[in-house]
Symmetry: D2
Subunit: 297 residues, 4 copies
C-alpha cells in the first residue's frame, strides 16, 4: 500500500478522533469542567494525562485524546464552547482533529541519514505526516527526495544572504501551508525573525547529549574529552543556540576503540532515532512547552 | 533523621493526599463523573493517568492523585459517596489515603542483596513503607535485619511441612497487619491457598528476563545459551510459576568473558533495582492488574 | 562518492591489513609463537584480543589484526608457514586479507526494514561488503533492490518445493561466489542440507529476545505475556530453530500503551540495528563460534 | 563466610596470577618480545587485550593477565628481566601479582550511598580490596563504617585549613600503606600538591554526565535545563575540576514528573553503580591513562 493511501486510510479511521491540549494555572475543578464539556458533546476519553508542577499555586497541564461521533460537524461549536471554559481558567489550549494530518517541511544540508530515516518511516506509514517539500542549501539530497515523489527545493545559502534565503523559504512554507519544520541536520543558523514566526514549530537534532558539547563539532570534542557515552538531542529551536526546550535524548556506549569517524557512525543511529521520536511526539500533540522545558505526555 | 521520623514527616506532609484507582468497562462520562465527585469534595487533582484498551467496548483504567483539605474527616463520606458512582459504571476501585503507609513483610532465604537494597532504600527514606517484620527459612539475614531494628522470624521450611510453615507465616502477617509481601529471593514455592489469600499482594523477583529461563538456575541456563543480555523480572505471584503479571524488567549487557559467577554478580544489581522499582510502584498505587498483565501509571 | 568507489578506496587503504583468527586448546606459548611468526614476516599488530575459557586445560581464542607491507605477495608463504604452527597447537584458524571484501547474499520476504537498513548502511559506506544479489520468495523488495543497482531474484517458495527452491538458490550463490548469507526477515525454514553447507555463514534476525518467544509470532506473544521490554536477536542459523549461536541482542522498553502493532513498530528498529551490528562483526572476522556460543572480539 | 576469609581465599586462588600493563610507542615486535618473555618464565596467557591508536607511529597499549607457577619466587627476576625489554621499547609498564590486593582509602562527606555501595560489595566479596580506613569531614558515616569493622577518621575540614587537613590525611594514608583513594561523594576540593602525589590514584564520582554540568549542583541544573536523561561520571582526579580522565559513565531516563529531589533519588543509583564499576576496573588493572583519556581493557 503506498503512503498516500495509508494516510487516507488513517484519516478515515480517525475522523472522529480529537485532541485537547491545555496549560493553565492550577486550581480545583479544571478536569471536572473539561470532562463535563467532552461528555456534553458525546465524546469518550481514550487517553488522558495530567500533570501539575505543584499542588498549591502551580501550573496545570492536560492532554486528552477522545472519540466523538460526527466530530467534523461539531468542531466549530466545540471550539467556541470551549473558549468559555478556557477563559474561565486562563488556559493556553489547542483542540484539534487527529485527521488533520500535519504538514512538515524538512530542511537538510549534506548529511542525509536523518532525512532518510524520516522519509523511510513516512513511507512505511509509521510517521503520519504530509511532507509537501524538502529544502536544502545543497544538492546531495535531491535524488533521494525525488525518488520519494516529494518536491525538492535547492536554495543556496550563506551568512551574507541569510535574510534573502529565508524570504524564499518562508514563501515556500506559506505556499505549501506548512505546519512545522524539521531541521534534519540543516547546518545553518536561522535568524531571530524566522524563529519567532515558528514558536515550538521548528524541531532540531543536535548531535550531542546537551548541554554537553553545545555548538560545532560535538563528535570531535567528545573524542577529545574521552567520554564513554555519546548522545543526540532533539529540541525546539529558540534564538539561543542549542538552548531550546529538549524533547528527547538518547545515548550509546563507546570506548577507546572509536576514532572520530567511528563516533559519527554510532552517532548517526542515535540522531536518526531521537529525531524521529521527537517528530512522532510532536505530531501526536504530546508536547507542551513550559519555562523552556517540555512536558511529554 | 531516622527512618521513623521521616515516615512521620511524610505522613504529616501528605495527610490531605488521596489516590483513586479505577478499572471498569469503558463508556462515555466516567471521567466527568469522577472529576465532578472530586470537585464536589473540594479536591484538587495533582496527577491523573487514564488508559483505554480499545475505544469501542474496551476496558477503562484511571489513576488519580489528589489533594483534599480535611481528607481524614471526609474519607468516610467520600467512600460511601463514590460507591454510587462505582456501581453505576461497574467499577473495581480503591480510594486510599497516601498517609496510610503500607505495611510490608519481606520473605528472604540465603541471598541477601535484594533484602539489603530494600532495607537501605527504606532507611534513606526513599521507600515509604513500614517493614514490621522479615521472615526467613534461614538464619543468614538475621544479623542485618536486627541491625535495622526490625523483628526477624526464622521459620524453617521444607516441602513436607509447607502448610504448617505457612500457618505460622499467616499468623505473623495477621499479627502485624501486613498489607503486602515481598519475596526478596525467597526460594520457596507458596501453596495455592497462601497465594489466593493475597491476590496482587505478593511481589516476587525472578532472576531472568521472563519468559526466558522460567524456573530454576536461570543464570546457569543463560550462560549455557550464550545470551548477550541478562535480566531480572519482578511480578505478582500467581499459582503458575513465574507466570504472574510482570511489573518491571531490566537487563544488562554481558559477553563471553563472564562465567556463571560473573553473570550472577551483574545480575544481582539488576535484581536489586528491578525489585525496588516494583515495590515503589506498588506502594504508590500505580499498578492495575488486568488479564494477567499490568498497567503501570 | 558512490559505494563502489568507496569499496575500492577501502581496499586500497587496507591492502596490507590482515586478520588472524585462532581457536585451539589452551597451552603456554601460543601467543609467543604467533607473534613471533608475525614479526618474522614484518607485520605490526594493530589490535589483538585473546580469551581463555579456563586457565587449566581450557580453550584458547585469539583475534589479531595486523599491518604487513607487501601482504599480497607474502600471503601464500604466510599461509603455508602458519600451517606448521597451527598443526603444533591443533588450531582451527583463518588468515585473511581485509581487502578481500566479503560477498553477501541477502534473503528477504515481505518485511523490508532489515533489508533497507543493510542497503542503506552499505550505500553510505558503513557496511564494507559486496551485495551481489538479493533473493526473495516475494516481489515486495524488487523495486528497492533494483534502485540500489543490485540484481534481484524472485524464487517462489513453498514447503513442497523447498529442495528445488534451494537448488536454484545454491546455484545463484555459487554463480556469484557468495561468502555468507543474511536472512533479513526471510520467513522460510531452510533444509538441514542447505544449512550444513554454510556453517556459521548464515545470519538470521529473530524478532524476540531469545530464548524468549522462540518460533512464530513473537510480538503477539510478547503482547499477551505483558513484557516490559521487547527485543531482537541475531544468530547463526543451525538446524535447531532459533537455537543457533547468538551474535547480538538488544531491547527497548515498552508499556501497556502499545498494542501488537505498536510493539512491531518499536521492534523493527531493534531488529534493524541488531542485524546490522551482527553483520558488521561477521565481516570484520570478530566472531568465533564455540559450543553453540559466540566469542565476539 | 566473612570478608577477610574471602580475601584470603582469593589470594590463595590467585597466587600464581600476574598482570602486565604496557604503554609505549608502537613498533613491530612488541607482542613477540613480551609473549616470549612470558613463555620463557613458564607463564600461560589467560586474557590479553591490545590497542594501537594508529598503525603508523601511534601509541601501543597492552594488558596481559597470566598464570605462572611459583610466581612469588620468580617475581624479582621477572621484574628485572622485563626492564630490559621495557627499555628497548621505551615502555611505561607495571607487572603486578593479583594476590597483592590493593589498599583503598575511602573519603566521604555527608551523602553515604556511594560509600555504602562500596562497603556492601566489599563485604559480599565482589570488590576484592582492603579498606584499611575511611576518612570524613563529617560524622554521618561513622556508625555505618564502624559496623563494618573499619577504622573511621573524622578530620574536620574547611577552605582555610585545607593544607593542615591534608597533612593529617597524608599521614594516615602513609600509615596504612594506601594504594589508591576513592572520593565517594567527598565534597571537598583537594590541593594540587595532594593530587600530584597520587597520579591516577584518586577516583572521584561526579553526579552528572560530564562534560555536562561541571561543578556544583548538577541535579538542580539538570532540572532547570529539562534534560531527559541524567547521569554520573567516575574519573581520575586531576587539578582541573571535573576534567580528569573519564573511567565510566552511565545514565537513566527521567521526565517532567521528577523534581530536583526525584532526580537525586534516581541519580544516587547511577552514582553507586558507576563508581563501583570504576573501582572494579581500577583494582583489576584494566585502566591505562593516555592524553587525559582512559583505555579500559
Amino acid at each position: 500500500m503506498n503512503v498516500h493511501k495509508q494516510i487516507e486510510k488513517f484519516k478515515k479511521q480517525h475522523e472522529n478522533r480529537g485532541r485537547l491540549l491545555i496549560h493553565c494555572p492550577d486550581k480545583p475543578g479544571i478536569v471536572a469542567s473539561v470532562s463535563t464539556f467532552l461528555k456534553d458533546f458525546g465524546a469518550n476519553i481514550i487517553e488522558s494525562n495530567q500533570f501539575s508542577t505543584d499542588p498549591s499555586g502551580g501550573s496545570f497541564f492536560l492532554r486528552i485524546e477522545f472519540d466523538c461521533p460526527y466530530l467534523v460537524n461539531k468542531m466549530e461549536k466545540m471550539l467556541s464552547s470551549f473558549s468559555d471554559i478556557a477563559n474561565q481558567f486562563s488556559m493556553s489550549w489547542t483542540l484539534t482533529r487527529v485527521s488533520d494530518v500535519k504538514k512538515c517541511a524538512v530542511f537538510v544540508s549534506k548529511e542525509l541519514h536523518c532525512l532518510q530515516e524520516l522519509l523511510w518511516e513516512w513511507q512505511s506509514g509509521e510517521l503520519m505526516i504530509d511532507i509537501p517539500l524538502v529544502i536544502s542549501n545543497h544538492l546531495d539530497a535531491k535524488e533521494v527526495v525525488k525518488s520519494f515523489g516529494i518536491p525538492f527545493y535547492h536554495i543556496q545559502s550563506s551568512r551574507d544572504i541569510r535574510k534573502q534565503v529565508e524570504q524564499e523559504q518562508l514563501k515556500l512554507l506559506n505556499q505549501y501551508s506548512v505546519d512545522f519544520i524539521v531541521l534534519a541536520r540543516y547546518m545553518q543558523i536561522l535568524t531571530p525573525e524566522f524563529v519567532e514566526q515558528h514558536p515550538n514549530q521548528i524541531i532540531n537534532i543536535h548531535h550531542s547529549f546537551l548541554p554537553a558539547f553545545v555548538g560545532a563539532k560535538p563528535y570531535e570534542r567528545a573524542f577529545k574529552r574521552g567520554v564513554k557515552l555519546i548522545g543526540a538531542t532533539s529540541h525546539y529551536v529558540t534564538n539561543d543556540l542549542d538552548e531550546g526546550p529538549i524533547i528527547e535524548q538518547d545515548i550509546e556506549r563507546v570506548d577507546h576503540r572509536q576514532d572520530v569517524e567511528g563516533l559519527k557512525v554510532i552517532g548517526r543511529k542515535i540522531e536518526r532515532n531521537v529525531l524521529a521520536q521527537a517528530v512522532k511526539w510532536h505530531i501526536e500533540d504530546r508536547i507542551i512547552v513550559f519555562k523552556n522545558k517540555t512536558i511529554v505526555f
